[in-house]
């Protein structure tokens, strides 16, 4: 159990790092899908080995929402975008290096949690937290709306993984609320991007500079 969850969480982190590393939008989207699939597999494995059938349903939902529906919406938003866009405003090398530093930071911050944890999955908790931190980093440094959304989704995936590994997932009602939230958020973002394009002919956030002070 521990080996399987560690491996899947590690693969999820690798997919997250690939999101940082890739430059083309399609490559980044594909890596996000890969990250989501890893998390779905994680949920399924924990569901099977810890005998939590509800988690199998969660795994299916993750695949449907995060590996299929949301990427489709994102692709729709991205249609007509320049091919290279949206990465953090730094060179790839620096970004990957920073992401590595965030992995170390994740282990440091979560020391009180891993020290107390007794679940077999606890060792992988910092890996999921690192995914969340890297997503946050992508979200904060993204140069356009798509970069922000993608960063946020990677962030959200990391938090999902954290909840899964630390507590075997939250009660079903809450998980359902979270899925709905993410979907509505992405749809709202699509609306914003459509309007942004009409107003500014671009989705670069640098154009948003009306409000100051």
């Amino acid at each position: 159990m521990t080996a399987a969850t560690n491996l899947l969480a590690f693969l999820g982190l690798v997919a997250t790092l690939v999101v940082v590393w890739r430059q083309s939008w399609r490559g980044r989207l594909a890596s996000f899908v890969a990250q989501s699939v890893m998390l779905a597999a994680l949920a399924a494995v924990i569901g099977l080995l810890a005998r939590r059938p509800a988690l199998l349903l969660v795994a299916v939902l993750v695949v449907v929402f995060k590996a299929w529906l949301i990427p489709r919406i994102l692709a729709r938003i991205a249609a007509g975008m320049p091919r290279r866009s949206g990465g953090p405003g730094r060179s790839v090398g620096v970004s990957v290096l920073l992401a590595g530093a965030l992995v170390v930071a994740a282990y440091a911050v979560l020391l009180p949690v891993t020290r107390d944890a007794s679940l077999p999955t606890a060792g992988a908790v910092p890996l999921a937290f690192a995914m969340a931190l890297i997503g946050l980093y992508l979200c904060v440094t993204g140069r356009d709306a798509l970069g922000h959304i993608l960063g946020f989704l990677v962030f959200e995936n990391g938090i999902f993984g954290l909840a899964l590994l630390a507590t075997y997932g939250l009660p079903g009602l809450i998980e359902a609320g979270v899925f709905l939230d993410v979907l509505v958020l992405v749809l709202l973002m699509e609306g914003v991007v459509v309007q942004m394009r009409r107003e500014h002919d671009s989705v670069e956030v640098d154009r948003l500079r009306e409000l100051r002070g």
Partner: protein, 476 residues
């Protein structure tokens, strides 16, 4: 029963308004707002006696603190609803009215649930419901404001989710997978046995997350934009009660942390963030240029004051903070609604463009003056009393230096607000003759809100002191 009704009314109203033909929308909006306000105040009155109202197997729960916020949301929403038709074109009442009531519903759900997971979903729901309302005018500036609002608050609230997960982790780790492990009441019960370090870590995420919604510096950056670009009724709701809902969430978790890790941890964080918020707000308020942004920064200042009260703690600190939330909500919602009328008359939100308000719009100007004086903490208005309680609690708790810094910042903000008020009220009017926008009867709700503020400042109505004490009991 009343608790279920409270949540069903705005939700059903929103649903009906989403389908109703445009000509019935305004009446339906009025009925929904009125019923919501009446039910909210009734529920607040019900829990003012020593009882707790629950529904759905304890998932919904209203204690004294929830009741206080519920009554406040009902009143402010009612006030905002009265002004809302001025901002909605009669032909296209969608999506404003449905989203308005959905927004109110999410806030009511947030303060009336016992489950911290549902609390999280509801607070995230407030962002999703109000985002379109911020961008209602669909200008470049409002687009930018709504984008920032959506992104910053979503990230913030996701951080609060990490905090919630860590709380759940600590609970499950100690006590196994209990059915109600995420209930606040069970968290409080088991808090003495929870691992202090994990709870502290969780609280940091909670404060940053819900603090973003509350407009605490340095997570406040969305607030001035969203408050200034949203239509006035939405600004009033956001500033009056949405920020209070954020504070409410922090306060609930503070109670858990205080038991699990001792009171000093949360105290230091709240005092630090409170002072920082006041300092940032005072720096802006010293030379404001836009009166809606000025009101928005003043909200950051007052949320900072509330945090100081919660940080100082003790009977005076806690009751002062709770009273201050209500006082600020009433004063600020009146101000935002009046600011909407000023903007409609002058066609600008720049302070430099608004001159001779008392001559141009005598009645509006007088309401604006009175509400501004209330906001600045001038007696006989309630904000004076709650500020005295909060800073008094600081000296009582032996934190005199913190209280003194807070008072200096308060005076700085006072000076800036006074200057802006003077510039707007007097001077040569840009238009030759008076254009009064505020009739006698539309002025009544404003007068009622100001009267409530004088009540909390001069003569506390019977039962108020007991209610505040019971809320302080919940928090301790």
């Amino acid at each position: 029963m009343i608790l279920l009704a409270l949540l069903c009314i705005p939700l059903a109203g929103a649903g009906l308004l989403a389908m109703a033909p445009p000509r019935t929308a305004r009446a339906l909006h009025g009925v929904t707002a009125l019923l919501t306000a009446v039910t909210a105040v009734a529920l607040a009155a019900a829990v003012a006696r020593p009882v707790t109202v629950t529904a759905l197997d304890g998932l919904l729960r209203t204690d004294a603190l929830s009741g206080w916020l519920t009554g406040l949301i009902g009143l402010v929403a009612g006030l905002a609803a009265i002004e809302a038709p001025r901002y909605v074109a009669p032909a296209t009442p969608r999506p404003f009215y449905p989203l308005f009531h959905l927004f109110v519903f999410t806030m009511l759900l947030a303060v009336n649930t016992d489950d911290v997971g549902v609390l999280w979903v509801a607070v995230e729901g407030t962002t999703l419901a109000s985002m379109f309302l911020v961008n209602f005018e669909r200008t470049r500036a409002s687009l930018e404001a709504s984008y920032k609002y959506l992104l910053i608050c979503s990230v913030g609230i996701a951080l609060a989710f990490i905090g919630t997960v860590l709380m759940y982790f600590a609970d499950v780790q100690q006590f196994g997978d209990l059915p109600h492990a995420l209930r606040w009441t069970s968290l409080i019960d088991v808090a003495p046995a929870l691992p202090a370090r994990v709870i502290e870590l969780a609280f940091v995420f909670i404060v940053v997350g819900y603090g973003t919604k509350a407009g605490l510096a340095p997570m406040h950056t969305w607030l001035p934009d969203a408050h200034s670009e949203a239509p006035a009724p939405v600004s009033a709701l956001m500033s009056g009660v949405l920020l209070s809902v954020g504070v409410y969430a922090v306060v609930r978790f503070k109670a858990v942390v205080d038991v699990a890790a001792g009171p000093l941890f949360a105290q230091h964080i709240l005092l630090g963030l409170g002072l920082l918020s006041m300092a940032l707000a005072a720096a802006f308020l010293w030379t404001p240029t836009n009166y809606k942004r000025m009101l928005a920064y003043s909200s950051v200042e007052h949320i900072g004051i509330v945090c100081l009260g919660l940080g100082f703690g003790g009977r005076w600190g806690l009751t002062g903070a709770v009273l201050h939330i209500a006082n600020h909500a009433l004063a600020k919602s009146v101000l935002f609604l009046v600011a909407g009328r000023i903007r409609a008359a002058y066609g600008s939100t720049a302070i430099a463009d608004v001159r001779g308000l008392l001559a141009v719009m005598p009645r509006t100007g007088r309401v604006f003056l009175a509400a501004m004086l209330a906001l600045m903490g001038v007696p006989p208005f309630g904000l004076f009393v709650s500020e005295v309680m909060i800073f008094g609690a600081g000296f009582q708790a032996g934190l005199g230096s913190v209280a003194v810094v807070g008072l200096v910042l308060l005076v700085a903000a006072f000076g800036g607000l006074l200057r802006a008020l003077h510039l707007m009220l007097y001077g040569d009017a840009p238009v030759p003759r008076p254009i009064e926008g505020l009739g006698r009867s539309p002025a009544l709700p404003f007068a009622a809100a100001l009267l409530l503020l004088i009540l909390t400042g001069l003569v506390w109505p019977p039962g108020l002191a007991a209610t505040l004490d019971r809320i302080a009991q919940v928090l301790r």
